[in-house]
Amino acid sequence: MKSHEDYDTMIQLFIDEELPEGNREEFLTHFKDCGDCQKTLVEAEAFSETVQRARPQVQAPAALRARVLNQMDRAHNKAGLTALAQIQAAVSLYWRPLSMAAMLCIVAGGGLSISHFRRESLANDFIRSAVANHRKFGIDTSLDISSSSPQEVSSWFAQRVSFPFRMPNAGIASDDHAKYKLMGGRLVDFGGQRAALVVFQMPNNRISLLVSSDKLAKAMGGKITQSSGLRFHARDMNELHIATWDNKGLTYALVSSVAMGSSGSCSTCHRSSATGVAKNKKPQDVVEHVLQASEKNPLQEMIPNSVGVSAGR
């Protein structure tokens, strides 16, 4: 049995999103019935916000930025030229065309490498944002739109975000076999632009889905699974499970504490997956779904026939 002081310590960890998932559930159970903790949380949150508002709006001087960029260009060129010099020394005149091609490959490789880091950094930012918003919803459960109608939620977001918002599946949450229920959504910020956070409720779990334009971030890294032409990237972060994927100009990040691939069944999210699939999909998709189930697709428990596999269709 934890003392009240223990919970007091947990409050700041909770605000900082550093409370382990196991303790989090325990804390939330206590929190619901504890007026003192509720008051402390509100005050601690307000204090953090006050401090955060004092963040100096510092901008690096333009001259410094220019120097750094020049440095990058020089480093880039130097890498290419050094490699070129080595290649030229090593090959004869007859091989000069080949050396030129090699040089171009090296220069292009350097450029791709920088671009890769940039994309990877954005992909990680997107995941962090999805996790942060998922956790934030544990504290502030208010929604900008509350509806269990996918059409209503889609239409609401479509008018408020700068990208063509689509739910992962037009039939999402309306499937009788889904154990989750669409609750609604709210607007959040990602990369300085509006993104959509869609929230689903399961009996003992909550699922959130962050949706943004793939111009801001693309799905990368993690354990990759291919299904119905989509590539799913799955990873675990502090007992949360995240699946990201791109589809038709949008990037999705699904966050949940539902285990992925532990039992090899779709029953976590669906009462009867086979029937559910058969009802909503083409025969070839049903075969593919069953095959994936037999291969213990790591994502199937979270995104069987509704959230992920048919994304954007």
Partner: protein, 189 residues
């Protein structure tokens, strides 16, 4: 004009450039001197470019840049064989980022600005190590683990240091803080 636009667009893709403002802010906090801060940030990028091939795939790039910057700063301090000399720097504000449709009144801006200045003043009263941990957590939103890597200390130390720093800051801000908290509650009700 067209060429300039193309050049700028390709350059902003450069590795880690999105962190330059945050790094400069951190460098200013450490050095308390614009010229030193600029040199430190520039050197950070030199080291980062040299070492980027060794960056692991699962690394936090922002935290990695901060770690390089801090290590460089500690090396400089060792060379100088002197303690950090804290001097005041004037604020450099780039304008408030107010959300459209949520623009506060002039009075609200004035009150908010006073609060912000008081919080900044209070932070400057903290010890350098408390200032640093507050900066990394509250301003840069690094996780405890990332801060631990930047500061080269265990995560438990980060937690306790952050707890003490917040308590001290709260004590320094107590009169302001009670007013802010109560006015916040009033405005919410």
């Amino acid at each position: 004009m067209m060429f300039q636009k193309v050049g700028l667009s390709s350059k902003t893709e450069a590795f880690g450039l999105e962190y330059i403002d945050a790094l400069y802010g951190y460098a200013l906090m450490l050095t308390r001197n614009r010229s030193d801060a600029e040199d430190l940030v520039q050197e950070t990028y030199v080291r980062a470019l040299d070492a980027k091939d060794r960056l692991r795939e699962d690394s936090n790039v922002k935290g990695w840049f901060f770690t390089i910057l801090r290590n460089l700063w500690l090396n400089q301090l060792r060379k100088r064989k002197s303690e950090p000399h804290l001097v005041e720097i004037d604020g450099q504000e780039g304008g408030a980022d107010y959300l459209s449709g949520n623009t506060p009144s002039s009075d609200e801006i004035l009150v908010a600005k006073e609060d912000v200045e008081q919080v900044r003043f209070a932070i400057r009263q903290l010890s350098p190590e408390f200032q640093e941990v507050i900066h990394l957590r509250e301003f840069e939103e690094l996780s405890y683990q990332q801060i631990a890597i930047v500061l080269s200390c265990p995560t438990g130390t980060v937690m306790s240091r952050l707890g003490r720093a917040r308590a001290k800051l709260r004590a320094l801000l107590t009169p302001t803080w009670s007013q802010t908290a109560s006015s916040g509650k009033d405005s919410r009700s």
